[in-house]
Amino acid sequence: MKISKSTKKKLFYEMARIRMIEKNIASKYSEWEMRCPVHLSIGQEAIAVGICQNLKKNDKIVTAHRSHAHYLAKGGSLKKMLAELYGKETGCAKGFGGSMHLIDLNAGVIAAVPIVGSTIPIGTGVAWANKIKKKREIVVAFFGDGATEEGVFFESLDFASLHRLPILYVCENNEYSVYSHISKRQSKKRSITKIAKSFGIKSEKMDGNNIENIYTKTNKIIKKIKNKPQPYLIELKTFRHLEHCGPNNDDHLNYRSKKYLKQWNRKCPIKNYEKFLNKNNLVSKKNIKDLDNIIKYEILNAFAFAKRSKFPKKSLLKRFVYA
């Protein structure tokens, strides 16, 4: 598949935008006004963007605690997301959920919850409903390598395989669950893609930091799923830049070796893609600067919106217990 120049730009733009938003969240976090846990996506943007660029608005995604990139890549409202982090009534969940419960039904962001693995069956259920209702929409379920240890992950694969559900399972393998390296949690002889296959689900490994590769490969897979409902699983190795939860870098804790960090820092999906686009004369320094300014302006506006929004009213506490 050949990627058009405009798509390339779009891929870059989306990644850069998410990165800048996350960086702004990180820097503004110390104002102590976004008072909820945040799990930033910095370093993992290529996966969110590469996949979501292949989705239609009415396609759906579900995600977990580290959801900002997915939410934004799928078209979730930035203003509502920031307002949510500030706990405001204009937030996507009216401040009730915080960073760990992003939702934007208009954009097809169905669910994000911080209980590891718990949206995997929920996404599977959405796909099941789509299959029953003969909709040609698909669901993408994003989760981490840690989530593939939960029983409900396997149970969901089993069901999706049995009913040939139109769902793409996306495992973002950043090799860590909080501070625990995957080798402490999973046998070296284990493989997530092989597990999927043993359930009767086609699967593939991908480089989680190569945006074009992700884009083209998932483009094909998503087409296949839409043509003939069936589950797929992909595993993408990637790297989280900052601490597990919070706005800081925690490399001084040494739970990831210097070598490991160096290796991965070289693989930054955005820097590398910028270089690549530059080298191939697809974007100029000026282009980038312009994009930057557009994004900066949008972010500025969104933060201002979030900050000036009001907190939700007390009466909502009771109102939202039952529909």
């Binding site: 009730f96 039904l105 169905i110 919850v113 209980i115 718990s118 259920g125 109102r319 939202f320």
Partner: protein
Amino acid sequence: MLRKKKKISLADSIKEALILSMKKNKNVLLIGLGVDDPKGIFGTTKGIDKLFKDKRVFDFPTAENAMTGISIGASLMGVKPVIVHQRVEFSLLSLEQIINQAAKWFFMNGGTKSVPLVIRLIIGRGWGQGPQHSQSLETIFAHIPGLKVISLSTPYNAKGLLISSIEDKNPVIIFEHRWLHEIQGIVPKKYYKVPLGKARIVKKGTDLTLVSSSYMVIECLRSAKILKNYSINTEVVDIQSLRPLDIKTIINSIKKTQKAIIVDNGGISYGISSEIIAKLYEYFSSKNKNFNKITRIGPPDNPIPSTRELAKYCYPNYLDIIQNVEKLLKKKFKNLDKYRNDVPSDQPNRNFMGPF
């Protein structure tokens, strides 16, 4: 659905509620292990799979947690899943999805979307079911804001409550006692609702209130019948809705009778009766009313063993209730023994031979 009899069993009334709901709303699906098998969940779903052209009845792998999450996901897309577990205990595998997700979905997403979902839990009892097949555990669910928790007791209310639950926009947990499935009662053929959130006066009376739910309502009614012979006119209240709890109906009854026994269907400590007594206390003490004459009984603080010789001590029956009435009224009823029957303690009645 062309039945002649006015009286049907509670199992049949559930089936009727399911069929009518499925006819009315094509999004209603039945989900659970064995829903389409030859026994059809003690008859409550038997044959339903054959009534609908589209596939609407889904047997499921033994994967209760995913089953619940998948149903939540489907319900977000407009499907109305009615899940059933043949034993309450199996649902423990899915409590994360029920408590963290379903119960809080509407709230934590700021009112954007709720999870309309019905989960039927069948309480086992008798025939040596033992510690892992006879718990009711109502409290676990009743403690959770965002859930509605219902407990069935008669064919009439079973049908109406189930229909209401399926129409409800929230996750509803329904407790269904295995020993009630064969109970007969008059049930209108039509689609009708019994509102959630309301207790129900099963039998009116003036001298004493018995408050209970589920199978214990039957025991209370038996007691009431016998008490009549001792000139005690008993009022029997079926709690019906454990969450939200309709304490008003209970209070009004006790205001009239001045005396009450709460008969708990599940373990007594931290049980349903605890909250009722606490609420009654709060009410009556705030009114400076006398409310000395309330007691409670229920299963003791141990798991339920398999052997019938000990399991029988774990369930209060109508005679135990009457003995508590004696204490409460400081009376002694003569010849109570003649009301003792010889039904084995581990069967609901002589004719009932399972499946349990």
